[in-house]
């Protein structure tokens, strides 16, 4: 039971990082990416390769993951600078689909469909450490940075871009630089989550980095409340504990648990958008994020 709870807590912390970083670009910068799992995946593969080929040092793995995911996030920043709204969602959907194909096909780097197996457990100074404290520390750091950035000048610039980017530009804000920086920060964070995920499970394959995963992260942010600090965390914990709760319901056949879980996500997303679009934590009176 403790092992089960520890595992759940680790996954919740990792999902918390993913949801918080996605919320950073969705909620604060108004960039609606449905390709967050791509950067999670890039980080996971990078971290796993560092551990497999060099040393299972978690800091090195996280650093490599952040560098690769952050660097390649320019694939997302580029369309984000050019187009908004529907166009950008279409571009990020496209990126997600192409990246999933790449993950499945680049066998030397990703192990193909079979994935990478036998990733060594993380060691600090020769001692094996659990991933949970590392993930919690990373989550705390990201929340701290988000809160700081949000209150500072950079955060206000982002919010002004979200609400009216031509006005922000007219005020002399460097819109392109701010957007790019936000995307790089969020995607590097997703990369760190990926490295931790790889070290925790010691097995990864493309299944965890598909459109469904991107949508699940999105659902965490939305259900919790976009543009709030704690909303994405609440969403992450709720959606992650769902399978565990469902497995206690006796009349669902085990083969259909996955489908039932998906149906519940789907319903929750739709109903919340209709009745409570600001999410569970969000301020219901305030105007919500713009189109």
């Amino acid at each position: 039971m403790t092992a089960f709870l520890l595992n759940l807590a680790t996954l919740a912390a990792i999902s918390g990082i993913l949801a918080s970083t996605l919320n950073f670009i969705v909620g604060y910068a108004g960039i609606f990416s449905v390709a967050h799992a791509v950067f999670f995946g890039l980080g996971a593969y990078a971290g796993a390769q560092v551990a497999l080929l060099l040393v299972p040092d978690p800091f090195l793995a996280c650093l490599a993951a952040a560098a690769i995911a952050g660097g390649l996030s320019l694939c997302l920043a580029l369309p984000a600078l050019r187009v908004r709204g529907e166009y950008f969602v279409a571009a990020s959907l496209g990126l997600q689909m192409v990246a999933a194909t790449l993950f499945a096909e680049l066998k030397p780097l990703t192990g193909g469909i079979g994935g990478l197996v036998g990733i060594p457990r993380p060691e600090i100074l020769g001692t094996v450490v659990p991933v949970l404290p590392l993930a919690l520390a990373a989550l705390a750091l990201i929340l701290f940075l988000t809160a700081r950035l949000q209150r500072g000048a950079f955060g206000r610039t982002l919010q002004s871009i979200r609400d009216a980017d031509s006005a922000a530009e007219a005020l002399g804000k460097n819109v392109n630089a701010a957007k790019t920086l936000a995307v790089v920060f969020a995607c590097a964070g997703a990369g760190v989550a990926g490295a931790l995920y790889a070290l925790h499970l010691s097995f990864i394959n493309v299944e965890s980095f598909t459109l469904d995963q991107s949508i699940q992260i999105m659902a965490m942010v939305i259900i919790g409340g976009t543009g709030t600090l704690w909303g994405p965390l609440v969403g992450a914990v709720m959606l992650l504990s769902l399978p565990a709760v469902l497995s206690f319901i006796p009349f669902i056949p085990p083969t259909e648990v996955g489908a039932v879980q998906q149906i519940i996500y789907g319903l929750a997303m739709t109903l919340l958008m209709i009745f409570r679009p600001a999410g569970l934590v969000g301020d219901q009176t305030k105007g919500r994020s713009t189109s």
């Binding site: 969705v26 609606f32 580029l78 369309p79 050019r82 187009v83 908004r84 709204g85 529907e86 166009y87 969602v89 279409a90 571009a91 959907l93 496209g94 990126l95 689909m97 192409v98 194909t101 499945a104 096909e105 980017d165 031509s166 459109l211 949508i215 999105m218 659902a219 939305i222 259909e256 489908a259 039932v260 998906q262 149906i263 996500y265 789907g266 319903l267 929750a268 997303m269 739709t270 109903l271 958008m273 209709i274 679009p277 919500r288 994020s289 713009t290 189109s291």
Partner: protein, 289 residues
Amino acid sequence: MLFLQLLLNGLQIGAIYALTAAGFALIFGATKIFHVAHGTAFTIAGYVFLFAWRAGWPGWAGAAAAVLAAMAFGVAMERYVYRPIQRHEGSFFTVFVAAFGVGIVVQNVIGMIAGRGFATVDTPLSFSAEILPDVFVAPMLWIALATAAVLFVALTLFLTRHPAGVGLRALAQNPDLIRTYGLSSNGLSVLAFAIGSALAAPAAIITVMTTGLNEAIGHQIMLISIAATIVGGIGSLRGAALAGMMLGIAESIALQVVDTQWAEAVSFFVLFAFIIFRPSGIFGVVQTR
């Protein structure tokens, strides 16, 4: 000859894409709703036809049922999902997430009922015959092309000649004016959803009679419809249909160079290129950011 074969296959895929993309573009143009559940209407229509076929219904009855099911789904989405959200001036993204949620629910419900994996309907029309040395074509190809052409002409005539069609175009351009003239914009938007969703049904029936469909095909169809609408130029029906046809052909011809699993990626490289270099699309008015 391989090239000709791939081109013909591409025409068939292109006809399917053109029909679904035209439906998506019609809905988006008239109502400004980014109907990401359009692929779901396609899936529902395909499975209704499949079930009707397995239950021994004649083909025309199954097709009629499929069209009705797609229309009912589209109208229900408008009535019960999009309209309540827009009443609270919901953002584009709220609409996107709500529609995506419906897509997930339908996909999994279908998976639970019909089982997962590809399902096809075999008829004499799907059997290929050699028309030239090494070039095989099934009668379905001609049916697909004729269906797409006839429906597209009918749709164009409807939009230019019929008062309701003219109203739809007016709604696309100036929703306020519609209200000033005492027309019901709600009624017109229901009409847009009904016609747009109905267009997905023939495409779904052709798919189930040729390559087959699975419960997750809605994603792919949605992506292609969005890609075609953007590549064609938002607001342009002929642009969407043309781009759908082009994407189908490009996907098929790319098979001469790359493996099957990359076929889908081809569409997205085209989409990406358009978004970066020409976001207004082939026929669209310039509108960036």
